[in-house]
Symmetry: C2
Subunit: 129 residues, 2 copies
């Protein structure tokens, strides 16, 4: 049975993909894939996504060089979420942190829980984002 | 600054929450929260969600007893995804597996990567689900 038959893409043709660092289990980011980006991810071994805001197919690291080499792709019981183990080059977050989840709730506020590895301006040039 | 100001709920008032085992980093499940379920999660220290299919507020473990004690709540750079560390009692998955991500892609197919801890019928009675 094909794993693809097990997956459910939403009404926009998308499925959320949780990206986890294969080396230490740190959750690095969550982004959305459509069928084409999932197929390209499998074919190339590099993560590709669909940007809902930019309405654009993109490869992680295409600008920053911070690519993700795929080690394993799992999917959940309902088939509506992916969990992808990767080898991450550099910072996964466009803000320059290793993980996009660099802030945690503390009381009514929050605190930053990890060091910034790089200035966004150094990653993307003048346009940080 | 309140962390709540940093969060973006989608057009349905929902935000995805990745649930991770605080003990070993295993990603257990992904489910959706609305503002009320997030607030109740914070107030009670137990995860609460919004079921999109059943259109229902629910506490994880309310039927199975497999509750999740919250250890930390993180949120991502875009404020549109939560990452919650929990102490998980029993199986997180309604299929009786520790994690909902118990299947991984292998070639064109998939394989089960962890043992089933419990029969769903034993968790939920005759109605497995």
């Amino acid at each position: 049975m094909s794993f693809d038959d097990q997956l459910k893409f939403d009404s926009n043709g998308l499925i959320p993909a949780i990206i986890q660092d294969a080396a230490n289990g740190r959750v690095l980011m969550m982004a959305w894939m459509n069928r084409a980006s999932l197929e390209t991810t499998i074919q190339t071994g590099r993560t590709h996504f669909w940007s809902r805001s930019r309405k654009k197919f993109w490869m992680k690291g295409e600008t920053s060089g911070h690519t993700q080499q795929v080690k394993q792709i799992a999917f959940d019981c309902d088939g509506d979420c992916l969990l992808i183990q990767v080898e991450q080059i550099g910072a996964a977050c466009h803000e320059g942190y290793r993980s996009c989840f660099f802030r945690s709730v503390e009381g009514d506020g929050f605190r930053t829980t990890e060091p910034r590895l790089q200035d966004p301006g150094d990653i993307y040039g003048k346009k940080a984002g």
